[in-house]
Amino acid sequence: MDALLLAEQGLNGLQLGVMLFLMAAGLTLVFGIMDLINLAHGTFYMVGAYLTAALVPVLGSFPLALAAAVLLTALLGLAVEAVALRTLYRRDHLDQVLATFGLILFFNELVKIVFGPVPIFLNPPAALAGTVDLFGLKYPAFRLAILAVGIAVAVFLWLLIARTRVGMLIRAGATNREMVMALGVDVRLLFGLVFALGCGLAGLAGAMAGPVLAVQVGMGEQILILTFVVIVIGGIGSIRGALAGALLVGMVDTLGRALLPAAFRLVMDAANASAAGAALASMAIYVLMAVVLAIKPKGLFPAH
């Protein structure tokens, strides 16, 4: 494997990591600050992708459709929080898992009724459909756009959380919720905002993933498992942890798929090597999670 290919695989890993970060940031905020296990986080990812796909033909522009979809997803999150989740904060985690699982079923069926059971069409905008030449490496332009959006979101979240008053309350809420309530902060409003922010981020992830992946019912659950792995590795409630965990998972998964079959081919025949490599590559991130948890049981950057 030459250096150029290795660089490309590194870029692929980074890009997958950034995509996972967009999902994980919202999930870890909601989990860490509101102490709410939200299995329906993937649902907002799906809604973001479907809204973008539906709005592109109407608005005629991908960035406009994306912005509208993110906003609408955040508003939907606000509504869901007020209607369904607000009563669950004092209940135990099992009740939350049940209720948010119910939300998954509800929204999956709703999307199926509105958009039909067959996956729908969403391609990158024409300007980003091709490849870009990076020092002799032809890389898909839209994947670079995902990378840029992910980095922008990371910077935005860092500014929001480290430099603003809301961010201070979010940090305080993640560290000691009771104390924040005792100080007279309107926790209800804070929770609503955090949940809407999380949903908006999930919607953004869905909108950016839509042109690369199948826009279909159930797409949220496929990525949700990976997202949970990310936030468990990173430390629940920590944005920094989510970023580190996402990049780690993206790198390990991509490089595992790229390198393991080739590594096995050195010691066994091609058919067995590709089967063994594929099997081990699909386990790699779970092995990573087990190792991280064995060394740091609360994740890499625990918030509590």
Binding site: M1, D2, L5, E8, Q9, N12, G13, Q15, L16, M19, N108, K112, G116, P117, V118, P119, I120, F121, L122, N123, P124, A129, G130, T131, K138, P140, A141, F142, R143, P211, V212, L213, A214, V215, Q216, V217, G218, M219, E221, Q222, I223, T254, L255, R257, A258, P261, A270, A271, S274, A275, A278, A279, A281, S282
Partner: protein, 388 residues
Amino acid sequence: MTRNLLTLASALALLATPVAADTLKIGMITTLSGPGAGLGIDIRDGFALAVEHAGGKLGGQDTQVIEADDQQKPDVAVGLANRMVERDRVQVVTGVVWSNLALAMLPTLAGGQTFFISPNAGPSQLAGAQCNPYFFNAAYQNDQIHEAVGKHVQDQGFKKVYLMAPNYPAGKDGLAGFKRYYKGDVAGEVYTQVGQLDYAAELAQLKAAAPDAVYVFYPGGMGINFIKQYEQAGLKGAVPLFGPGFSFDQDILAAVGESALGVKNSAQWSPDLDNAANRKFVADFKAKFGRIPSMYAAQGYDTALLIDTAVKAVGGDLKDKDKLRGALASAKLQSLRGEVAFNTNHYPIHNIYLREVVKAADGAVTNRTVATVFTNHADAYVKDCPMK
């Protein structure tokens, strides 16, 4: 005496009526939720359309279809199979999309003496050594579809082909089938995780291997992910892409649009096959469900036709399993793809066509038949099947 005869006659009539009035109960265990749902829903809808065309009476019997969602999970599918046998007491189970689920469900269904007619999954195991008196396949043996592209790619003179498939029984069958007729070099043979989303790593390896053609087997959502990413990586047009119909069928084409234009793929059916039954099916399916039928929808329809043909042949007698089995096995099925016969392993002997993804006059992206690759093609495993 006359009176006695009358009594006897009416008693016989009483005994006979329940047989004639037997309701045909069919268990439709298929994937109705999750990422694979598009396939299961098409099978269900195609099957329902055939029942409707038969006036609600397959084989002249009142027909009741009991739906259940297997969620693409083998354990759920086995539980449902058990329920269909024990509680619902169906005579036939159909609907299965995935080979691994079919393999898991068969022991339960065969043990319960319930016919299992697959509208899609056609694993090599059940065609060969593990063939079963209670298992039938109305669609194809997995390898057959792949063999057709293998032959086409070989005939076109490609010498260095890169192969990719998901890591599960049908994936391995698929690439084995392709290689049975393709004799050139294999530039790489890659198995990916079932349900994989991101193929960037594999596409980078593929590009580095510089093959002169690529053959992929990715059904459902995996196919959409792959085709989109293949084009975005700049490979479309640079390296010709081939696949079985599963990777380029209507469920996928609707989502990828022009990204798949020009790709040659193979199937036992195509929406443009020119016969009266097929024209009616395509038109009625579009009218009823508002979309172009996929090959899965056609297979659901053909499965219902097979049940219809066999139940008619036994005159509605659903009790005698041996007779019904004989009728299924000897059926000369007038299907949407012409006449189909069944081999000793209960798999079809039929034509396989080469299709091309084109843009129709109305702007819809769909498949068009280009050539007939195999005529009356039997599968490769029938010789290992002990049933004669």
